[in-house]
């Protein structure tokens, strides 16, 4: 079965080719069916492979060689897939959640004229994402890595007539490229020091071959790869593209900008856990950047009014939690949170899509309210999502987030308190969103109220499935105080090695759990009392600062974008046109001036010419006979 792994990316590729080449002839419904079936087929194969990988008889990673990609001299990079516990888990998440989102899209996008193109892009995205996780070396990962960036670009700018949207698409691609440069340099360092990009060979050599810079080699490589992760997973300072990416259709936000692509950075670091364990300094940086992002993005989410912007900043914040987990060496915990987050964040985004659909495109939560009465399924599933992300016991987010908090506490209690604060803010802004949207009185126009309706079943069934997963998904990783056996950690243990296991007293663990869940409940109650009626009074002071996202976009614009544009203009006008070209033309003019002078010699008098000729002959003789050798 594992030898058939190439089928998994092949199906979406075929789907892409069919819809991509037939974008003018294929009917919309057929496009949706082709696109969804392609992912379903991949999911089925993935499930088959999962059972094989999960069985006791499975030993070590299976490498499936497809063809030689680059071969020159000593450099050899094959196009090879690797099947092991980590890649298989991601296969399930990508194809499983991906399939649900495809099904949802068949209904959500049905009124859009570009629906065939949409499914082509969506299939291409899944194909790239599968390459990313299946690659057996960093280059194949990089191919997928940039491929998902391309699809993200195409889908953010899906409605290409709107200039703001295409700006957002461009911004996403360029910011990802900045990170990709780090990834590229990291790969160069690995090649330079170890002569290979294959995971197996590289990790095997890591402990024994120190590299050109000794111990520092590990940190340099790890930092460079992490820069790539910062770009793709939207961490400080390269996160500003993700909120703008909400310009794309909402199911795209669910799939790409919440559930799968943005977790690529987590995957990469978990995949490289052997390397990161040797680079403790880098792990510190990872933890600090993750924590800072978690807190920072949460503060912004508190004051956003666009339903998708709240979810976007919440995604950035949750990704920060995952990096915090990686930074404290709890790689499996980070992967655990990737999984639960994929369920509940996809659910929340699709739920918001259902709301936007019902509201006729309106996204401002101040103009909603009371939607629960008309949209019962959306309301309940959305509530489950909110409970899960807030870490209420029993829901999936509780298990994974609590594990992150526990690992952080064991690492450093100060980090723990800061992370706890971010988790509290999460509960607050998520329930602020929930209460403003679904409870209270409807605050939109009469016309909108008239049109309010529950979404069709193609949209609600994925919501229900994701809601179920958002509840049960956490039970694969029970806390140590409840169960000795952590199913997910033991499943991943052959591939991912956590940095130092922390065993804390059962009492402490209960206390931490109680503290975080208790505080979450308090925050939910606070959110309820504080958000019965939204205020339309313009914000001032700190609130204004938060509403405007700390003005980070404006700062980047003033510090980087404008100076660069000014420099370009300066180079073009002065250095290029007046400077270099001026000199070139100056030389030309000089020659012409010189020629004008020399022309005076051409007097037209034959006698003068003969005189010069004789001089020349004499000179030639002189050179020849008196041995002036060149």
């Amino acid at each position: 079965m594992t030898q058939l792994v190439y089928l998994i990316p092949l199906f979406p590729l075929i789907g892409f080719l069919i819809n991509g080449l037939g974008w003018r002839t294929i009917p919309k419904t057929a496009a949706g069916i082709i696109g969804s079936l392609a992912i379903l087929a991949s999911f089925v194969v993935s499930v088959g492979i999962f059972f094989e990988v999960n069985s006791p008889s499975f030993h070590g990673p299976v490498l499936v060689h497809l063809f030689d990609f680059i071969q020159t001299g000593k450099l050899y990079i094959p196009f090879t897939f690797q099947v092991d516990a980590l890649s298989t888990l991601f296969l399930l998440i990508i194809t499983g959640v991906g399939f649900l989102i495809h099904v949802y899209s068949t209904s959500y996008m049905h009124h859009d004229e570009g629906m065939v193109k949409y499914f082509a892009f969506l299939n291409l995205f899944v194909f790239s994402m599968l390459l990313l996780v299946l690659g057996a070396n960093y280059l194949v990962m990089f191919i997928g890595w940039e491929g998902v960036g391309l699809c993200s670009y195409l889908l953010i700018g899906f409605w290409f007539k709107n200039r703001d949207y295409t700006n957002a698409a461009k911004k996403a691609f360029v910011m990802n490229r900045i990170g990709d440069l780090g990834f590229l340099v990291g790969m160069m360092m690995i090649l330079f020091n170890y002569g290979t990009l294959s995971y197996g060979e590289f990790f095997g050599k890591l402990g024994t071959v120190p590299g050109a810079l000794g111990e520092n080699t590990y940190n340099w490589i790890a930092v460079c790869l992490f820069i790539g992760a910062i770009g793709k997973s939207a961490q400080i300072p390269l996160y500003t593209w993700l909120p703008d990416a909400m310009a794309g259709p909402t199911p795209v936000s669910a799939l790409i900008h919440a559930a799968t692509m943005v977790t690529a950075g987590i995957y990469m670091i978990a995949r490289s856990s052997v390397l990161y364990n040797l680079a403790p300094f880098t792990l510190h940086i990872v933890a600090i950047i993750g924590l800072a992002t978690a807190i920072f993005a949460a503060t912004v989410a508190i004051k956003q009014y666009d339903i998708k912007k709240v979810l976007a900043y919440s995604t950035v914040s949750q990704l920060g939690f995952m990096f915090l987990a990686l930074g404290v060496g709890a790689y499996t915990t980070a992967v655990f949170h990737v999984m639960t987050h994929a369920f509940f964040k996809a659910l929340l985004f699709l739920g918001s899509g259902s709301v936007i659909h019902a509201m006729g495109g309106e996204q401002d939560i101040r103009l909603m309210g009371g939607l629960g009465k008309k949209m019962r399924i959306t309301q309940i599933t959305f509530l489950i999502g909110c409970l899960a992300i807030s870490g209420i016991p029993g829901f999936s987010g509780f298990f994974s987030k609590d594990e992150i908090l526990a690992a952080t506490y064991a690492h450093d209690p100060i980090l723990y308190y800061m992370a706890l604060a971010a988790a509290m803010m999460t509960a607050f802004y998520m329930f602020r969103l929930y209460f403003l949207t679904f409870t209270g009185k409807f605050r939109g126009t009469h016309d909108q109220e008239h049109h309010l309706h529950e979404s069709p079943s193609a949209m609600t069934i994925p919501l229900i499935v994701l809601a179920i997963l958002s509840v049960v998904g956490g039970y694969v990783g029970l806390p140590a105080v409840i169960s000795e056996h952590h199913a997910l950690a033991s499943y991943l243990s052959p591939v991912v090695s956590n940095a130092g296991e922390h065993h804390m007293a059962a009492g402490t663990e209960w206390l931490l759990m109680g503290l975080s869940s208790g505080l979450s409940v308090v925050m939910i109650i606070y959110a309820f009392t504080a958000n019965k009626v939204p205020s339309f009074v313009p914000n001032t002071g700190l609130a204004k600062l938060l509403e405007n996202k700390w003005y980070v976009d404006e700062i980047y614009d003033a510090v980087i974008v404008r100076p660069l544009a000014a420099l370009s203009g300066l180079l073009d006008k002065f250095v290029e046109k007046s400077g270099i070209d001026g000199i070139v033309n100056g030389v030309g003019k000089g020659v012409r001036y010189g020629s004008d002078r020399i022309r005076m010699l051409q007097t037209g008098q034959v006698g003068f010419y003969i005189f010069v000729m004789v001089l020349g002959i004499v000179a030639l003789f002189a050179i020849t006979f008196f041995g002036v050798k060149l």
């Binding site: 990089f142 940039e146 391309l150 461009k170 360029v174 440069l181 340099v185 030309g588």
Partner: protein, 480 residues
């Protein structure tokens, strides 16, 4: 025999074409380029494993014979020339041009010159074809070019001609240093050059390299290029930017590296620094261009800068990367120019601020533009990535102590490249359709031409092995 035919076919059909008018000239040119392409393919099938040679006496008194070589590098470049010329002929089939007989005749003569340059195994033969390629292009620009064609082409001609003369002086000097009677054949020139004392190699390098630096062009010898590209008719711009710039890069690899190793070692870091400045400088300037032709001109300078930087910090991977990238850059930039000429024909402007909405009005063209754009910024699974990755690896692995700095600064060009290329795509293809636009999508010829380009982009992006195998042998001879 193939080697001679590769030059003779375009040469003879080119001369013949002057006496034909109307569609006959187009058909003749198409047939001629098709025949040349078929021969290039035949040559490339064997050249990877075994080089072929051709040799007849030419001017024995001067020590020169008409000597050609078909190795991996020359056959790869002939193949690229063949493909590019064929695409040019296909997409221009239903474009009207004044005096088609002369126009296509000159195009074919330029092709003959290019083929000769790439195949030459004798310094004087090399020089003759070098000039033969230049002269038809000069006439093409000055006869069929834009409004300011006269000053632009004059500058281009004088600039490159000065370079050529310096190169000729250098080559003549080298031939006088060959043992026994003077000889211009490649082995004796290479042997003579490499045995010269380093001090002489250092100044000889300057003489010869200037010609190549102008052709590529390398910062700060590049200012002829944007003006010339802007003023030339697009088929000629394609010859200039896809093919003639490769003459410079090729010259460096065949006529400098083995010939003046000490000179290369002495000037290496200087050239790398100039090239890398060129990458960043040209990319920054490209960002603020409103004219789409000038934007592409500067992007081409940036691309060539990367190749040149990798050439002068030599490593096996880097040199092999140059082979791949020379080919791929030729293909991609041809695709770009083909689209630009369609834009110019339909929109009647090259000013990007006046464009928009191509994705609505001409979706096929917009898709092609998007694919070629992403290939030119080196997206993986397009041909642009493979070469670029190898070039960066080469830069990083070179022996220079600044190798990491070189690679990182050069790679900043990747980010800037994404900025200006996506800006262009956004301005041209997205947004609302402008009024008074001819909403005509690709016609059959344009479709075929672009389909060839895109097929190569994807095929070599996914499976670059054929190209790598073809050029692997040459790399080994160059690096030692």
């Amino acid at each position: 025999m193939i080697l001679v035919l590769l030059i003779l076919i375009p040469l003879l059909t080119g001369i013949l074409s002057f006496s034909i008018n109307g569609n006959g000239a187009k058909n003749l040119a198409l047939l001629s380029t098709l025949a040349t392409l078929v021969l290039s393919v035949c040559l490339s099938c064997t050249a990877g494993t075994e080089s072929s040679y051709f040799n007849v006496p030419w001017i024995p008194n001067l020590g020169t014979s008409f000597s050609l070589i078909g190795d991996g590098m020359s056959s790869m470049l002939c193949l690229m020339t063949g493909i590019v010329m064929l695409v040019v002929m296909i997409v221009n089939r239903n474009k009207e041009v004044e005096k088609p007989g002369s126009f296509y005749g000159l195009m074919l003569l330029a092709q003959a010159g290019l083929m000769g340059v790439f195949l030459a195994y004798d310094a004087l033969v090399f020089y003759v074809f070098w000039e033969l390629a230049l002269i038809p292009v000069y006439f093409l620009c000055s006869q069929w070019g834009g409004e300011k064609r006269i000053p632009a082409t004059f500058k281009f001609f004088v600039y490159t001609f000065v370079g050529s003369l310096m190169m000729l002086a250098g080559l003549i000097y080298l031939s006088t240093q060959t043992p026994g009677i003077n000889s211009y054949s490649w082995p004796s020139i290479a042997h003579a050059g490499a045995s010269l004392p380093p001090a002489q190699q250092v100044w000889l390098f300057c003489l010869i390299f200037v010609a190549f630096a102008i052709k590529m062009p390398i910062f700060p010898f590049h200012t002829w290029q944007p003006d010339t590209y802007e003023q030339s008719p697009t088929p000629v711009t394609i010859i200039l930017s896809a093919l003639m710039v490769k003459m410079g890069m090729f010259g460096v690899l065949r006529w400098l590296f083995p010939v003046l190793p000490a000179g290369v070692a002495y000037w290496g870091n200087t050239v790398v620094v100039l090239s890398i400045i060129g990458i960043i400088y040209a990319s920054l300037i490209a960002i603020v261009q409103a004219d789409i032709k000038r934007l592409l001109a500067y992007s081409s300078i940036a691309h060539m800068g990367l190749m040149c930087a990798a050439a002068f910090s030599p490593s096996n991977t880097g040199i092999h990367g140059i082979m791949v990238q020379m080919f791929n850059h030729g293909i991609n930039i041809t695709g770009m120019w083909v689209i630009v000429s369609m834009i110019e024909n339909r929109w009647g402007t090259r000013d990007m601020t006046k464009m928009g909405g191509m994705a609505t009005s001409a979706p096929q063209m917009a898709i092609a533009l998007l694919i070629i754009s992403f290939a030119s910024i080196g997206l993986p699974l397009t041909n642009g990535f493979v070469g670029e990755f190898m070039l960066f690896t080469g830069l990083f692995q070179s022996a220079s102590i600044y190798h990491i700095g070189f690679m990182v600064v050069a790679a900043l060009g990747v980010i800037l490249g994404a900025v200006y290329t996506l800006n262009m795509v956004q301005k041209v293809a997205y947004g609302n359709t402008r009024e008074q636009v001819i909403n005509k999508d690709l016609d059959v010829n344009e479709y075929i031409g672009l389909a060839i380009i895109i097929a190569i982009i994807i095929f070599l992006g996914v499976y670059p092995k054929p190209l790598l195998d073809l050029t692997a042998g040459v790399v080994n001879t160059l690096i030692h």
